[in-house]
Amino acid sequence: MSNRPRSKLIHLLISKSIAEALLVAAIAIGFYFATSNPDLRGVLDVANAETVNGWAVDEARPWTRVEVQLFIDNEFVADKNAAEFRPDVHSAKRAEDDWHGFIFETPPLPAGEHEARVYALLPNAAGSRRTLQLIGKPFRFLIEPKQTRLGLPQEKGGTR
């Protein structure tokens, strides 16, 4: 193989590599925008032995209610729309009305430290796929032995 066609082949290989690098970057960016909502705002305010609450707003569509899911210690607990009364979110100009809060009742948990996470559910346009996007930050909370609602005398070795 002489130098001239070899040179052309090298240029082709370099061009192809650049084109594929751009493609991979475009797919990564497309994937990010297809599976997450950059306009989603929200905070997980409180998690304790009684409730887990906060608020969530889709700023691109502030009149809609965001569907949220509660996970405690990575286990699914409950699903609901963020449609509870939160006038503070409205007065802070984060929403167009007062109804973007969520309140979950904390399920019975054993004593000790737990972690609550609330995710917004994001369906794709075709409805064939749903992804979860974390709202705010995970909230770690402690359940004291006297607060446990398991209904069993743990230290006496009872059974449920």
Binding site: M1, S7, K8, L9, H11, K16, A19, A34, N124, S128
Partner: protein
């Protein structure tokens, strides 16, 4: 000023001197393999309308392959698009195919799998499926043999080393499906070895279609996992 001469970008002679023929052939193999990996692992699982992106790496692989043949002065006959050695290639393929078919039947019998030669595609006549299998095998064998095998022979020479490299690449492209990876490694060794002795893409494509039919009909469907490869192996659709 040092004595080092810098290459002028517009000087194609100098650019061609930068890399040797073996390194260039290795680069071609790596480039084609990377395109297929991008298609399998990234583009084919891109969300929604972005799935169309799969045509880009596959298209680029073909552009590179065809351009490479042209620039290297390879003819269709060199690549294996010929009929004069068809019977020789078919003869070389016959024994390994019979042995492989017997092994597949034994696997089916040993695992208790119901052997069904009509289950390749339940809603399509077998003859149509075999023709489609031939077409798909033709494309794969072209890329695997006419490009990868020929370039592997430039890098490692003709013989078992280049045959094993081609088979390993073919098997690697079927990851993470374990049954298919093993099957394609065996098939890759047979097809690459036969191509080096009698380069004929038509015979290899027929063999590809027939062996796929045998494997699908005998090896447990649960092991083949619907022939899924790449990131799709882990998905449900």
């Amino acid at each position: 000023m040092s004595s080092m001469e810098y290459l002028k970008p517009e000087d194609s002679q100098a650019v061609g001197d930068v890399i040797g023929n073996r390194a260039l052939a290795g680069w071609e193999i790596a480039s084609v393999v990377s395109s297929i990996f991008i298609a399998e692992w990234l583009a084919s699982v891109a969300v929604d309308w972005m799935r169309i992106a799969v045509v880009v790496p596959i298209g680029l692989a073909f552009v590179l392959s065809i351009s490479s043949h042209h620039l290297r002065g390879e003819t269709l006959r060199d690549l294996g698009f010929r009929l004069d050695n068809f019977l020789r290639a078919a003869g070389l393929l016959t024994l390994p195919m019979i042995v492989t078919a017997i092994v597949c039947l034994a696997i089916g019998w040993w695992t208790g799998e119901r052997i069904d030669f009509l289950r390749w595609h339940i809603s399509r006549p077998l003859a149509v499926q075999l023709i489609l299998g031939f077409a798909w095998g033709f494309v794969q064998q072209y890329m695997l043999q006419s490009l990868v095998n020929r370039r592997a022979q430039i890098v490692w020479g003709r013989g078992w080393l280049s045959v094993l490299v081609v088979a390993a690449i073919f098997a690697g492209l079927h990851l993470p499906n374990p049954a298919l990876t093993v099957a394609t490694f065996v098939g890759g060794v047979i097809w690459a070895a036969v191509y080096q002795r009698a380069p004929n893409i038509f015979a290899l494509a027929i063999s590809h279609s027939l062996m796929t039919w045998i494997v699908v009909s005998t090896v447990p469907a649960s092991a083949l996992h619907h022939l899924r490869i790449g990131l799709k192996y882990f998905g449900s659709n």
